[in-house]
């Protein structure tokens, strides 16, 4: 069971800011998880339709899409950051 958190227009398109999810065993990387989420419904598909612009974090550490999820407890997805 992992916690998924979403921000900005990723959150808006999916329609929730967070959820708990049991990940299928064949999901190893963040990219695998994105592919899985896109298959769930149109909201996820709209959020992740351009996966190359989506940023991700594992336990609040910015991570590349090929990062292995391992035992991360919280996985975040969001658009490019616009701080400052």
């Amino acid at each position: 069971m992992v916690k998924l958190v979403y921000f900005a227009w990723v959150r808006e398109r999916i329609g929730k800011s967070q959820e708990e999810m049991d990940l299928p065993e064949d999901i190893v990387t963040i990219a695998d998880l994105i592919t899985h989420l896109r298959s769930l419904d149109d909201g996820y598909e709209a959020a992740f339709q351009e996966p190359q612009v989506i940023r991700a974090a594992l336990d609040k550490t910015h991570s590349l899409h090929d990062a292995i999820i391992g035992d991360a407890k919280e996985i975040a997805f969001f658009p490019p950051m616009t701080g400052g």
Binding site: A8, W9, T61, F78, G83, G84
Partner: protein, 158 residues
């Protein structure tokens, strides 16, 4: 939340809804050494031709503090700094209001300029904040896009 390193490294990171006070932040840094120069940068909400009612800043609690703290530590390693403070607001911010403050103190002026400039450049692309426009006609505008020039700005520190 005060940064855990504020007592030894003089790094102070705050993520808060309320406004900040520049004068008291500069005074805070004076305790850490024989300061010759302090550079501050205040980022404000622009009114974008009068159409904007407010920006709504969303952030990722926990990650925002961690990323900004990491950027400040990198500035400490790179420049000869005495202290550095970074404060980033969240929530609804009207045109003319403050969004972000970075203050860098050093013995000499160039390190203070470079430290604050470096932190701002990395805040733009590496701090988990997102800005949604609220327009004066009551409608909700766009999420502010990331800018290529913000990625490019970091190149000067390579």
């Amino acid at each position: 939340m005060p940064n855990q390193d504020q007592n030894n490294l003089a790094i102070r990171v705050q993520i808060q809804a309320k406004d900040f006070d520049l004068e008291s932040e500069i005074n805070h840094l004076k305790q850490f050494g024989d300061i010759g120069g302090v550079t501050s940068f205040t980022g404000l909400c622009r009114d974008e031709g009068g159409q904007l009612a407010a920006l709504e800043l969303e952030h990722y609690p926990g990650m925002a503090e961690a990323q900004i703290s990491e950027i400040c530590h990198a500035a400490f390693r790179k420049f000869d700094l005495i202290g550095i403070t970074a404060i980033h607001r969240f929530g609804k911010i009207a045109p003319g209001e403050n969004i972000v403050l970075v203050v860098a103190a050093s013995t000499h002026r160039q390190a203070a300029f470079d430290g604050a400039n470096f932190v701002m450049d990395f805040l733009k692309t590496d701090a988990p904040f997102w800005k949604k426009e609220h327009l004066k006609d009551g409608s909700t505008g766009e999420w502010v896009d990331a800018k290529d020039r913000d990625d490019a700005a970091k190149d000067k520190w390579r």
